[in-house]
């Protein structure tokens, strides 16, 4: 690991100020991605601003028809939360399938979506459920948040404080895990929301994406049968030793169908 300065502020204000003071600094949430990357000397932040000391950033609350999850809430807490399970069971189930139990105890929703790993699960939840990302500056619609491979709409130094999930009528998530890393080779979140049906796919492409044709079909008939014959364009999909683009294309259809079934 390259040397860095370590800060553990107790408030969002101090955190953002520290981050602003250090051009090559970086926020650290659960560290489950950042620390391995630093260990392999693939990142050399000058300063680490550890967010774990900011109590306001963790926690789950209900605000009308929105479920608010603090950015520093761990996957394990989301997975085990009665509130989440009652409001959006698919979200609890998604969180329960991230990484492994130890990673879930440290990893956070804010860290996951800020990193926007193409194989991470949470981006599918944010996009598929039509959630909004709340920062210390603004609220960003999920549709606008994930911009490209490891890229988001966050500005330099902008800090995610929470994610707000509107309650869907029903939703389901199905994941096809990589046998080695257990990241998503393909993960599909299907939700029937107040605004309509949403289908978001992670793992398959360089960045989470929606599948309009599936959304239209499911709006007419919310059943796996409605998805028959609908495929995504394989030319934009990832291709690696675990799954070719063609196989991912196929899995998107299978996982979407299983997500519909999971949604009930």
């Amino acid at each position: 690991m390259y040397p860095f300065q370590y800060h553990r502020p107790a408030s969002t204000d101090v955190a953002t100020r520290l981050r602003a003071e250090h051009e090559d600094g970086q926020y650290m949430a659960g560290g489950q991605t950042l620390i391995p990357v630093m260990k392999q000397r693939l990142a050399m932040p000058s300063d680490i601003v550890d967010l774990s000391g900011i109590n306001d950033l963790a926690g789950i609350s209900r605000n009308g028809d929105r479920l608010i999850i603090g950015a520093m809430t761990s996957h394990a807490v989301v997975a085990g939360s009665a509130e989440v399970s009652a409001a959006i069971p698919a979200l609890a189930s998604l969180a329960d399938g991230i990484g492994d139990p130890h990673v879930r105890n440290r990893g956070t929703i804010g860290g996951s979506i800020a990193n926007n790993d193409p194989a991470a699960d949470y981006p599918a939840a944010v996009l598929g459920l039509g959630a909004s990302v709340i920062t210390e500056r603004r609220e960003i619609a999920g549709d606008d948040f994930f911009t490209d491979l490891f890229e988001t709409a966050l500005e330099d130094g902008e800090l995610i404080t929470a994610v707000a999930f509107p309650l869907p009528k029903r939703a389901g998530y199905a994941k096809f895990p990589n046998p080695a890393s257990r990241y998503a080779v393909v993960g599909v979140m299907v939700a029937e929301t107040v605004e309509g049906v949403r289908v978001a796919v992670t793992g398959a492409g360089p960045c989470v994406f929606r599948v309009g044709a599936m959304e239209t079909a499911l709006a007419g008939d919310f059943s796996p049968a409605a998805l028959k014959g609908i495929t995504v364009d394989a030319s934009n999909l990832n291709n690696d030793i675990h799954a070719s683009a063609e196989y991912r294309q196929h899995l998107v259809g299978v996982m979407a169908g299983r997500a519909v079934l999971a949604a009930g």
Partner: protein, 155 residues
């Protein structure tokens, strides 16, 4: 150099600690608690699992400074003198270890599994071991040890 104060196996410990020091490294090199092992670079194997404030974590994927003020339990903190913890004893009775290298992380994970879910079944145990790799045993002895302890806890 920053200072760290943590409680390890019930004992308050303070030490100087570089920012780059991982919790696993701190436990092994600074405190001499070499039961916590390192088996991979990428947070897969789980040989380094310890409890931090009661939660299992991969100590190779946590900065020591992040554990400031925390209560840490390692494999060295389980047995009561010469009396093995019930999970350690069950691993021995069910031959849940061979080379012993993954064992500390396995046992720490196992303790948390039955604490959090004493009603767990075999499928549940196998899923709960997702973050720990054993190359020797084929897992069956480990799974049987955990189910045995869970059964005893339910009785």
């Amino acid at each position: 150099m920053p200072q760290i104060s943590i409680t390890v196996n019930g004992e308050a410990r303070s030490a100087e600690c570089a920012e780059t020091t991982l919790l696993s490294h701190f436990l092994r090199e600074h405190l001499g608690l070499t039961g916590t092992h390192i088996g991979c670079d990428t947070s897969q194997c789980g040989a380094c699992v310890v409890h931090v404030d009661g939660h299992t974590v991969k100590s190779c994927t946590m900065l020591a400074l992040q554990a400031e003020g925390a209560d840490v339990t390692t494999i060295e903190g389980l047995a009561d003198g010469d009396t093995l913890h019930p999970m350690q004893d069950a691993f021995r009775r069910h031959h849940g270890l061979q080379c012993g290298f993954c064992t500390p992380g396995m046992v720490m994970t196992a303790v948390a599994i039955v604490r959090d879910n004493p009603d767990i079944d075999e499928t549940g145990v196998r899923e709960a071991l997702e973050g720990n790799i054993c190359r020797c045993t084929g897992y069956q002895g480990i799974v049987e040890a955990i189910l045995d302890v869970a059964k005893t806890m339910r009785a």
